[in-house]
Symmetry: D2
Subunit: 313 residues, 4 copies
C-alpha cells in the first residue's frame, strides 16, 4: 500500500506514524505537515524526530500551510504540550531542518497523485488545510487518490476543543467542509466519538505495558506521554486511554479493524457559535445526496491493540 | 399531581394529553396553546376536540403566542396534517371557540404559578415560546414551578425538521435557549433521540392493537393517525412507532419509566446554518456550569406501554 | 399628542423625556422601563428621579423586562455610568419604589393601546424588548398604535457598542428583528449615523450654555453629564455633542425637524459575528418588500436645538 | 510600473484591463484568472479575447481556482451574461486555449513576486481566492508585493449581490477575510459605494460617446455591453454608468484620481445571514488595530474619465 500521511504531529500522530512504519505492507511515500497540535514548522521537526527514532529519515517530509484557510490565529490547547510532543527532552540527535524538502507540501501532494494516479492512500491526522488547498490548485486532485482516511469530526455532536466540535475540524472548518463536500475518492472517518467509545479503547494498564516494551520506540513514547500523565490530562482508570490518530491508521492498515460503520452524507457547520466545525450528518437522507463518508462506529479492539503493540516492537 | 400542559397539539400531543387525563393522580389545572405543529388558534380548537372526546371540557384552555419569539414565519412540515390532527373528519360536536378563556396564556401561566407556588408540574409538548414569554414577564416564574418536563431538543446532534435540530427547539430556538439557560426548577427532557431509540419504542403491530380498543378515545386516535399511515409517513415495520410527547408525559406520570438519564448543562445553538436550534451539551464539563437538564436516555418500555394502553381505555 | 415612552434611561433618555415634558402639546400617558443602559429596575428609579425634577410624578411608571428576549446577560458599557445616570449625587428627595405601578409594563402597554386605539404615539428610547413582548401577547398590538418612533439601529453599517451594531439593536436583536418585520403602524427611526452626522449635532460649547441655564432641570443635566466629561467619554471639540434619544423625540414632537429621510425595507442581522444586531437595508429593493421604516437622514439643527433648549427652561 | 492583474473578467474587468494596456507606463507582467463573474476557465478565454483585441497576446495568462475557498457552488448573477462578456458575438479569431500557460496561477503568482521582490503592483478585479491561496502556500507572499489594489467590499453596509455584501467579497468571504487580515503590503480598496456615488460616475450619454469611438476596442466594448443595455440592466439616465473595476485601475495608474480616502482597519463578516461577506470597518478604533486598508471615498471624475477615454483610443 502506497501511503501519504498528512499530520500535525501530535503525540497520537507519532504513534500512528510508527504504526504505519512498522507495517511491512506499507510504503510511506511522503509525510506532509500542517498546523494543528502545533505550528506547521514545529510539526516538520516533530516528524523528523519520529522518523529518526525509527531510522526512516529516507522518507521525504514537506512543510504545509502555517494557517488554516480563513487564517484565524493558531489556537493552542496545550494537550500535546507547547511543541506538540509533550515538551519531552530530546536526547537523540534530531536531524536539522535541512532534511525538510524545499517543495511546498501542497505542490508535492499534487505531484505525487499525478505520478501515482489511483494508487495512493491518503491518511490525514490533522486539520484538512493542505488537502483543501490541493483541491483548489488541482480540481481533480482527489479523484486521483485511491482512498482517504480522516481522523476528525464527530457524529453525535460531541466536541473536545469546544462543546460541539472536534479539534481537527474546528481548527479549519472551511477545509473540512470543502473536503467532505467535494472529495471524489472514498473517505473513511474515525471520529471523536469513535475514539471515545470505551468499548473501542484500551485501559491505562494496557498503555503502561505497551509503552514499557524494551525498545527505543517505546522509550520515546513514554517520554512524550509523560507530561500528559503528570498533569493528569489523561485518565488512568477505566478503558479510557485514547490515541485517536492510531484508530484511523489501524482502520486503513487492516480493514477488519472496522467492525461497524455507516455510510452517510456528512457536511460541516461553518457558522454556529457553539457548533462551528461540527460534522453534521444527514441521518434520514433529507437532502437526497449520495453518501460521502464511511463513519467508523465500532472497531475490533484486539486487532487494533495488536497493531498498536507492533508499532513499538 | 397538579399539572399544566403547554401544547402545540399535534397528534402525539393528543395522545399525551389523553394519557394524563386517564391518570387518577393527575389534576390538569390548565392547558395553554402555542404555535408549532399548527397555528396557536388551531391548537386551541384541537385541544377542545381532545377534551370533548374525554368529557373534560371543564379544563380551562388558553390561547398563547401565535409567533415564535423572533417572529419567523410559521413553518409547516405537514407531518401532523394541515390542522395538526391529521385532517381527520370531526363528527363529534366539537365545542366552539367560546370555550377558550379570554385571558392570555402567558398571563394565565403567571397567575397559576403564583396561586400554587411550588405545586405545579409544567409539561411542555411544543415550542417553548409561551414559557420564555412568561419568564420575561415574571423573572421569578420558573422558580415557582415544582418541575418542568420538556419534549424537545436532541442530545446526539440528530435532527428531524432539519439536519441538526429537533422540531420544537428549531421552531423557537431563542425560547429554548432562554428556558434552558434560566429555568430555576428541575428540568427533565425527552429528546428526539430518546424517542428514536427503537429499544424505547413499540412496534406498529402494537399500535394497531392499541388503537383498536373498543372505545371512543381509540376511535379518535385511529382517525387522526390515519392520514400518516395512508401517506406512509410512519414506518409500519420494526419498533418504530413513535409518539414523542407521550414519552415526556409518561416520564412525569411514573418516574420509574426513566431507566437511564444523565444530568448535564445543555444550551441551544442560535446561529448555525445547519444546526440552528440544536441542543448542545457540555459532556465534559468544560464550562464548569451546574447541570440544568436531566436528559432521558432509556425508558422502561413495559411501563410506558402500560400508560399508553390506559390512555385509550 | 398622546405618547407612551419606553426607555432604558439613560442620560440622553432623561434629556428626551424632559423635552417631551416641556412640550405643551404632549400628554405622556405612561413611561415603561426596559433593561439597556442599566437594569430595568434601576431604570424605573431613574425615571422617577427625572419625573420628580420636573414635578410630574403623576405620570405612571411601569417595570418591564429585565432580560432581552434571548436572555443573554446584561451587557454593561459604562457610558451612562453604573446607574444609567452618570453616578451623580442625588440630593433631591427621589421617590421610592412604591411609585412604580404593580402592573407589568407589557400588560400596561397592551391595555393602553386598547383603551386608546389609533391615538397613541410610542417613542422607544431603549432596546425593543417590551414592544416585541407586547406583540407576542397581542398579535394586533402594533396595529392599534398611531405611530412608533425608534431610536436605534444604523443605516451605514457603523456601530458603537460593537463594530457593526448600535447599542439598542445589539442589546436585543431578536426584538428589533420582530418589531421591524411585523410592526403594523408607521415607524420612524433615528439611527446611530443620524446622530453621528456633525451637521445634525451641536457643539460642546452649545452644550455648556444649554446646561448652564439657571434651572433645576439644567442643574440635574449638568450633574448626570459630569462623569462623562470628567472621564473624557464625550469630545469637547467640534460639533460632536451627541444626545441620540433627543433626536428621535424631537422628530416626533416637530415633524419639520426631519429635513431628509428615506423609506426602505429594513431588517436586522441575527447571526453575524461582527454584525449581530446591525440594521440591514434593502437599498435596491431586491426583496420586493414594502418599506417598513422611515429613516431620518438629516435634521434641522436649529429647530432641534430650540426643542433642546426648551427642555431645560 | 510592473503589474499583475487578477481578474474574473467580467465586462468592467475588460474595460480595466484595456485601460492598463493603454497606459505607456505600465508593464503587465501576467494576468491570473479566477472564478467570479463566470468560471475560471471561461475567464481565461475572455482574457485572451481582450488581449487579442489589443494585440497583446504576448502577456502570459494563467488559470486559477475554479472554486472559492469553502467550495460553495459557483453563483451566477447574470449581470455579465453567461460567458462573463455579455454573450456577445465573437467575430475575431479568438485564440485557443493553447495560449493559456500550464503553470497554475497560484504558483505563477508566487514565482513572480519572488523574481521581482518589492516591484510588483497587484490589481485584483475579482474574488480574492487566488491571492488567499498564494498567501497559504507562501506565508511571505504579500510582503514581497509593492502594493495591492482591490475592487471589492463595501464601507456603508450596502450590497449588490445580496442585501449586505458586494459580489467579489460575497463570492469568497473567507479569502477576503484572509487577505484583509494578513496582507503585509499597502492595500487600497475601491468599494461598491465608491462606485455607486454618482459624483464619481459618468452619465450614460458619456458612455455612448466613449464607446462610439471609431476603434476596434470601442467596437468590442459596445458589443459586450449591448446585452446589459437591451435587458435594461444598467440605467440610461443620470450619472449612473458604472464600471467598478476601472475605478480601482484608474486609482493605481494615476494616484491623483483619489481625491478622498480613509485609512482604517477593515475585516469581513463570515457568519451573517444577511451580511456574510460584508466588509466591516472599525470606524472608532475600538480594536486598537493598525489600519490595513485605504478606502477610496471620492475620485476626480475628470481624471478618471480621461483614463477611460484613452482605454479605447
Ligand atoms: Ca493529529
Ligand atoms: Ca407536540
Ligand atoms: Ca436610551
Ligand atoms: Ca471583476
Amino acid at each position: 500500500m502506497k501511503m501519504i500521511i498528512d499530520t500535525d504531529a501530535g503525540i497520537d500522530d507519532a504513534e500512528a506514524i510508527m504504526m504505519a512504519l512498522a507495517n511491512p505492507h506499507v510504503e510511506i511515500v511522503a509525510i506532509t505537515c500542517v498546523s494543528g497540535n502545533t505550528r506547521a514548522k514545529q510539526v516538520t521537526r516533530n516528524v523528523l524526530r519520529i522518523l529518526n527514532i525509527c531510522n526512516r529519515l529516507d522518507i521525504p517530509v514537506y512543510l504545509g500551510s502555517e494557517h488554516c484557510l480563513a487564517g484565524d490565529d493558531w489556537k493552542k490547547d496545550g494537550f500535546h504540550g507547547s511543541d506538540g510532543l509533550g515538551d519531552a527532552p530530546d536526547p537523540e540527535n534530531t536531524p536539522d531542518e535541512s532534511h525538510i524538502k524545499s517543495e511546498m507540501a501542497v505542490n508535492a501532494l499534487i505531484r505525487y497523485v499525478n505520478e501515482m494516479k489511483g494508487e495512493l492512500t491518503l491518511v490525514t491526522l490533522g486539520p484538512l488545510t493542505n488537502i483543501a488547498l490541493a483541491m483548489r490548485l488541482d480540481a481533480d486532485f482527489s479523484s486521483k487518490l485511491k482512498e482517504m482516511i480522516v481522523m476528525g469530526g464527530n457524529y453525535q455532536g460531541r466536541g473536545n476543543i469546544v462543546l460541539g466540535a472536534e479539534f481537527n475540524f474546528y481548527f479549519d472548518p472551511v477545509a473540512a467542509f470543502a473536503v467532505l463536500n467535494e472529495c471524489q475518492c472514498p473517505v473513511t472517518i474515525a471520529t471523536w466519538e469513535t475514539c471515545c467509545d470505551y468499548d473501542n479503547m484500551p485501559s491505562y494498564e494496557w498503555f503502561k505495558k505497551w509503552s514499557n516494551q524494551p525498545t527505543e520506540k517505546a522509550k520515546f513514547i513514554r517520554r512524550i506521554r509523560e507530561q500528559q500523565i503528570n498533569k493528569s490530562l489523561i485518565p488512568i482508570e477505566g478503558r479510557y486511554f485514547r490515541s485517536c490518530d492510531t484508530v484511523a491508521m489501524a482502520a486503513v492498515l487492516l480493514p477488519d479493524v472496522i467492525v461497524e460503520s455507516v455510510k452517510k452524507y456528512a457536511t460541516v457547520e461553518l457558522n454556529g457559535t457553539l457548533t462551528r466545525g461540527q460534522m453534521v450528518i444527514d441521518w434520514r437522507e433529507k437532502l437526497k445526496k449520495s453518501h460521502n463518508v464511511n463513519i467508523i462506529i465500532k472497531i475490533n479492539r484486539d486487532l487494533y491493540l495488536d497493531l498498536m503493540w507492533k508499532a513499538l516492537e
